[in-house]
Amino acid sequence: MNASYLPSDYLPVLIQLGLALGFIITTMIVTHSIGPKRKSQKKDDPFECGIPVEGDARTPISIKYFLIAILFVLFDVEVIFLYPWAVNFKGLGVTGFIEMVLFMGLLLAGFYYIIRKGVLKWE
């Protein structure tokens, strides 16, 4: 297996980045420059499909969202650990599999705890 690479192999990523950035910047400039600007109290009002606005959007959010984000980061870290193992899956054999099952078992025990605690339940 030829495992060497050059930074030029990342050229597609760079091109994609440039395209995405260019699209966003161009769209923003064009909409700001060619769109009509009529300002009035009614036009500047934030609307919600015809329903009158209620309260302020910038209130402190529930801690549940934060917890979901924390859990996401933790399982993200776990997935990162899976990647180098999966590349060497055949070479590591049964031992590597058992080690990874142990690692996953720890995390899944935490996942079971979360479900039993009802963290993912809304209302």
Partner: protein, 179 residues
């Protein structure tokens, strides 16, 4: 060409970090942190540490930054005068209250000295018998599963502890809210 790309991404990283320090708006500094973290990921690629680059993008850019922004949304309480006065037109103008610089400077300088002395003393064995720009995922996977299996499983236990701790703390906050 390669040097040019390196300097561009190094400038992105440093500029982003400097902007984080300079701006007074917490939301802006979170977004400047995004630039800085992406720059670090690109520097990892140029140092042929591809797994680290993937981890940087997935964990820091995709996860930790969301946590930072959620932290701002969770703790920010708009003052009454900002919701009615002329400030109300700029609802995302969340200023930091913390303008002390001595202690952050001391902590940053201490961390820098510690990390610098560690990195300059470290012995990178991979540098000697590895061609430049070779993928490091294979080697990391093999080492992680054989030589460093104990730290690997301890990392699993650490993640489990973090899971349980986060659940415990947040459910406690829920209970006090309901009371």
């Amino acid at each position: 060409m390669l040097n040019l790309i390196f300097y561009a991404f190094a400038a992105l990283t440093l500029g982003g970090s400097l902007a984080v320090l300079i701006t007074r708006n917490v939301m802006y500094s979170a977004f400047f942190l995004l630039l800085s973290l992406i720059g670090v990921a690109a520097l990892f690629v140029l140092a042929s540490a591809d797994l680290l680059a993937v981890a940087q993008v997935m964990i820091y850019v995709g996860g930790v930054l969301v946590l930072v922004i959620f932290g701002v949304m969770l703790t920010h309480k708009p003052k009454p005068e900002t919701t009615t006065g002329p400030q109300a037109a700029r609802p995302n103008y969340i200023l930091t209250q913390h303008r002390a610089w001595l202690w952050p400077l001391l902590v940053a300088a201490g961390l820098f000295t510690a990390f610098y002395s560690l990195i300059s003393r470290i012995h990178f064995s991979l540098f000697e018998h590895r061609a430049p720009f070779q993928t490091s995922v294979d080697t990391i996977g093999k080492q992680l599963m054989t030589e460093y299996i104990i730290p690997f499983e301890i990392a699993g236990i650490l993640l489990l502890a973090a899971l349980v701790g986060a659940t415990y703390l947040s459910s406690q906050g829920d209970r006090t809210n309901n009371q």
